[in-house]
Amino acid sequence: MYSQGLIGADGRTEESPEFLEAFQRRIDAEEKIEPKDPMPAGYRRTLVRQIGQHAHSEIVGMLPEGNWITRAPTLKRKAALLAKVQDEGGHGLYLYAAAETLGVSREEMTEELLAGKAKYSSIFNYPTLSWADIGAIGWLVDGAAIMNQIPLCRCSYGPYSRAMIRICKEESFHQRQGYEIMLTLCRGTPEQKAMAQDALNRWWWPSLMMFGPHDKDSAHTEQSMKWKIKRFTNDQLRQKFIDATVPQAEFLGLTIPDPELRWNPDKNDGRGGYDHGPIDWDEFWRVVKGHGRMNRDRLAARRKAHDEGAWVREAALAHARKRKARAMAAE
């Protein structure tokens, strides 16, 4: 989801060449950068944007799946889905905390999200129409997220890298529970299998778009790779995801909705890999710019939750003040 965090990132920086060289030497030596360390303004800005968008994606990502908690087919599935959605909320919180070490507050980031100024992953602007979508999301969306996030565990910024290590440990259950849902449907009635195929048809292409634009159209990749915020390009990660996922679809007996998908033995330096058909980038940019099917719904739901929770936050602070005053009076 998360290379989309670089869309519109502004890596420009105005420090002296000596400062930038000294910083680059630390990066090249694989030293981690910690919050109070000197860093170029562009590095800080890029990270605030990427981590903030990553956090927003986790928070908004609770919505499409939350939609199915009350309608999960069994108690086991309901418990697993609740735990998964709770994890996404937790991941959002780790990430907001990591971004805050760079000098931006959670309140500011939340305001940007609710005002529609901050982005989150395009994938969450698609609707979850059937139970099979919950399987497809775990398998494909979390699978793509893991592809993106594993290299982020080695990101040069310490707090982000530490948050990613925790997140990656927890995500593996997400993908496995999704695949298990797909497997159960595929071994069920023909109607259930058709549901699984329909979900794959709708989620396949949006999942590939999660890796962000093609490398040639990704202006900020180069600087981010140099600063070791990113370790692989969008196209490299997308290819890894495709190569890992096609055999999993074959095992399920499902068809990837791409007539141009072909095994190419020469790909990946002779190790082989899949060629795929063209991605509809017009659709991608439409969704990123706010015109996906669910963009308005998602933001409305976040605003409603934020507004309706305001009294809780105020009451908690008022209670804390009152208790503090009482404790001081008693002394």
Partner: protein
């Protein structure tokens, strides 16, 4: 409208008895009790700990990374603080 920011707390967790508490991250909460509950929900969903400390972030005094070189400098040249500085004949055996 800008809301009153909810205070920030640093979270330390003891994974099991015998180990020390270790910094794991931070949470926002109105008071210490809520901070403990939030820390439990956010950082111990899979049995990561048997004890949690929360400390107001504002209460932490940290050394200045820009001054780290001078601040920690006295340790660098005192190699006689390390056991390998001293030569003990092999016949003496492990010491």
């Amino acid at each position: 409208m800008t809301e009153t920011p909810t205070p920030l707390w640093e979270v330390f967790i003891r994974p099991r008895n015998g180990l020390s508490h270790k910094h794991v991250g931070s949470v926002h909460a109105a008071d210490a009790e809520l901070a403990l509950q939030a820390a439990r929900d956010v950082y111990t969903r899979r049995g990561e700990g048997t004890s949690i400390w929360v400390v107001p972030s504002a209460a932490i005094t940290a050394s200045d990374p820009d001054a780290a070189a001078e601040f920690f400098e006295p340790t660098a040249d005192k190699i006689y603080r390390h056991p390998t500085f001293y030569e003990i004949p092999e016949e003496v055996g492990h010491m």
